[in-house]
Every structure is written in C-alpha cells, then in structure tokens.
Amino acid sequence: MSGALLSRRPAVRVTGLRRAYGPRVIIDRLDLVIGRGEFVALLGESGCGKTTLLRALAGLDPIDGGSIEAPGRPAVVFQEHRLLPWDSLWRNVALGLNAAGARQKAGAALAEVGLSGRLDDWPRNLSGGQAQRVALARALVQEPELLLLDEPFAALDALTRIHMHGLVKALVARHRPGVMLVTHDVDEAIALADRILVMRGGAIAAEHCSPEPGAPAASRAQLLAELGVAHDPAAA
C-alpha cells in the first residue's frame, strides 16, 4: 500500500536529518518518507529521539543538518490538549483559520469528532477524551497533508483510548493526511499503523510494513524484542 502512495508527492520527505544539543547527537543521518494517507507509527523507548524528530518535523525546533521537505504546514496534536481556556470550543478549533466561514468549518470539524452542537461550550466542561477530540478537530480543520501525533492518547484511560483509536482511524481514512504517530504503546502502533518504525539511538533501527491494507504491520512479540523487552510474559 505504501509503495503506491510513495510514487506520488509524499507528505514529508526527510533526508539526512541531524539534530544535536551541543556535543550530544540526538538524531543522526535519519531518512524518512511518509506518503499521503499513510499512517506511520514511531516506536521507541524514551530518550531515543522520537519526540525530537516530531518537533523537528513540526518546525518547532531548528535542525542541524539534512533537510525536511513538506508541502505545507503540518498539524500537531500534543499529549496535552492545549486548548485555550478563555476561548469557546469553536474558537479553539478555528485558531489559525481565516475569519471567513471559520465558525462553520469549526462546527463541521467538531461534529466529525462527535461534539456537534458544542460550538459555544467551554474547554473546562470537557472530559479528557473530549478535550483531546477537540484538539484533533483543531488539527484536522487545517486540512494538513501531514498530521503529527505526539502520544496524544497517553494521558487517557484505557476505554477512552480505544474509542479514540477508532475515531482517529476513521478520520485519517476520510481526510487522508500522512500521519506520524509517536508512541511508546506497542498495541497502539499495531492497531493503527500501516507502517511501524522502531527508533533507537537517533536512527531508525527497524521498519515493518503491513502486508495488506488493514493487516497488522508487525507482531507484538517482534516489536517488544526490538524494543529490548524480550522477556515480556504476554509475548511468550
């Protein structure tokens, strides 16, 4: 699936990316291409550079070498919802949109995440899962070609997380942005991604493509082994 998509102009093309804090090299000569409509999960233990990569792609941090080519501005959903507490939901979703038709667009985006009719409600009245859905609507209303998800479900409870997985999958299927999901949850990566990358020491250590659309890209045991958690009893 990803092969066909890659033939078109990709959502992002990273070549020889390097990022260092002083003498400490976080990302070294990293290459990555994400196609339109492709869902890539980036796994790795903390400190492996996966969030650094996401921040570089988002344009939040400068890069020290290599290049990042992306057709437009990527949209980001962070681990925290980062809603503006002083703005109503529709104004939150419309943040960064042009004024013309912003309310309508925001309303449609809110409806897509199951919050129709809540345009004039306030962030403080939302549960954690609802707030994260608004953050998702805020990202998608920008019609991004690249959607960056920085552990957006990590702070949610297990049931809400499963609901969110279904929602994200459906929305990505409809809008077809390229997606990079940074996570440390192996099951989440398997459930959502067409392609799973395992990052270690600032480079991509392993890559798994799903053999056919909808099929898991890799087995749990395999991924856990690559992450260095070989003795997990569930994997045995």
Binding site: A58, G59, L60, R73, A75, V76, F78, E80, R82, L84, P85, W86, D87, L95, G96, D120, W122, P123, R124, N125, R138, Q142
Partner: protein, 288 residues
C-alpha cells in the same frame, strides 16, 4: 453599662459550668447559622456608630473634634442639594480618571514590550525597577517644583502611582503565559499579532487585572495626597477648606467619600474580573 453586655458572650462558663472544649464556640456559631453570623458582623460597626452618636450628642466629644454621624449625614445632604459636593466629586473623579488612563496606558505598553522582548527588558526593566524602589509619594516635593500645585501635579502623581502596579503585573502576566500554548500558536501558524491577541494577552489578563485593582487603590491614595496641596476644587479642596473653618463635619464627610469611592473602585475592578475572566475557575461562576 452596655460594654459589660457585649463582653458576656465570651464568658462561656457562666451558664455552663463544665469547662468548654474548643468545639463549644463552634457549636454556638453553628446554631447562629450563616445569617446570624452575617447580622452579628454588622452589629459591631452599627454599635460603634451608635456609641459615637451618643457620645457626641451628650457633649462628651466636642463637634470640633468629632461631629455626630447624624451631623455628617445632614451636611452631606445639604452639600448635595447645593451642588457643590457633586461638582467637587466630579473634579476629583476626572483627575483620577485622566491620571489612570495616562499612567495605565504607558505602563501597559511598557509592560507588553518588556514582557515580550528580552532586549526591551534589558533596556528598560532595571531602570523602571530602580524608580519603583522610590515610594512615589516621596517624589511629591520634586513634582511640585516641576508642575507647581496645579492640575498637572495631581494628574502626574496619580499616573505615577498607577503605573507601577500595572507595569509589574503586565510583564509578570506575559511571562507566565503557558509556553505550551505559545508553542501551539506557532504550530497553528499564527502571526505575531494574532499570537499576542489570541494567546498572550488573554493568558496575561488575570495578572493584568490584579494590577488594575492595585493601581486603583494607589491612584486614590495619590489623589488624596495631591489634592490636599493647593487644590482649588475637588474633594481634597473641600476637606482643606473646611479645616480652615474647623468644619470637622465636612472633613469627616470627605473622608467617608474617599472611603466609599475606594470601595466602589474595587467593586468595579472585581466586576471586571468576573466579566472578563468568566472562563477562569478562580473568578468566573459556572460555564460562561
């Protein structure tokens, strides 16, 4: 005699020989209920006023020292009817308003600049902080040399008093804006102007409004001081003029008016907080 009566509630053991634990007065408060406690809290000032009235009427306190509250009230009515009270009040309020707008807007602009730009901070902040170390009323002799004792001196002093609380709270508020929200603004592609309007200023608003509340108090203080020096109109002039003729009833009236306006200004600032910070859990009610 009445003094003895007011003391009795504290002598708990008189009717209750068992030595009271700490819970006992608490239980008594519970029996009174919120309404009872509210009434009790007003009983003391009312009683004090009554005692004052009684002492003044009986001639224990001469009117030159402290006139009876009823006399002050009568003077207030008389001066209101003649119109002089309202015109002096208007003069004072106008001075306060002009000084507040001038001092407040300059301080706000500087605060935004310094809150935002490290360069502006390096250029301005230390000097402002050094000037701030001076109690602004200590500048009064110098201000009189510069402006004389006309309107300029009064407005300048109010503006000066207003400026520091607003400056400090504006810079503080801007610094305290959640960096994660600023990052979000960048991710959403906001221009600098939009970033300020949609994220920085709303985020700094609670702190800025705290500054406004403080500055209203200092504005009022500055005005009282400024007006007692060579004013030709205004509440302060009324007080100084009355002092010449030993009209302590008018003097007390002006003091009460200063107090009332201080309370009114504070309520206005609180109202502003409730309206503008409806989203904030510490200020707003529920929902909107």
């Amino acid at each position: 005699m009445s003094q003895v009566e007011t003391v009795t509630p504290f002598v708990l053991s008189r009717s209750d020989p068992a030595p009271g634990t700490l819970a006992r007065p608490r239980r008594r408060a519970a029996r009174l209920g919120g309404r009872g406690l509210f009434l009790l809290s007003w009983a003391v000032p009312v009683a004090l006023l009554a005692v004052w009235e009684f002492l003044a009427r009986q001639g224990y306190v001469t009117p030159q020292v402290l006139p009876a509250p009823s006399k002050v009230l009568a003077t207030a009515v008389k001066l209101t009817i003649s119109g002089s009270l309202l015109s002096d009040l208007g003069t004072s309020l106008l001075r306060a308003a002009i000084g507040f707008v001038i001092g407040g807007s300059i301080a706000f602009a500087l605060g935004v600049l310094v809150g935002f730009s490290r360069i502006a901070e390096a250029l301005l902040d230390r000097s402002v902080q050094m000037v701030r170390a001076i109690p602004f009323l200590a500048l009064l002799p110098l201000v009189i040399v510069w402006f004389g004792v006309g309107e300029g001196q009064k407005i300048f002093l109010v503006a000066l008093g207003v400026a520091f609380p607003i400056y400090i709270n504006t810079t503080l508020g801007i610094r305290q804006v959640d960096p994660k929200l600023l990052e979000l603004g960048r991710v959403q592609g906001l221009s600098t102007f939009t970033l300020i309007r949609r994220i920085v200023l709303p985020g700094a608003l609670p702190s800025i409004l705290t500054g406004v509340r403080y500055s209203l108090a200092t504005a009022w203080l500055a005005l009282v001081v400024a007006e007692t020096l060579g004013a030709e109109a205004g509440i302060g002039f009324l007080a100084m003029d009355a002092r010449e003729f030993l009209r302590t009833d008018v003097v007390v009236l002006t003091i009460v008016i200063y107090a009332l306006i201080g309370v009114a200004a504070d309520s206005a600032a609180r109202l502003l907080e409730r309206r503008l910070l409806a989203w904030h859990p510490n200020f707003g009610g529920t929902g909107r």
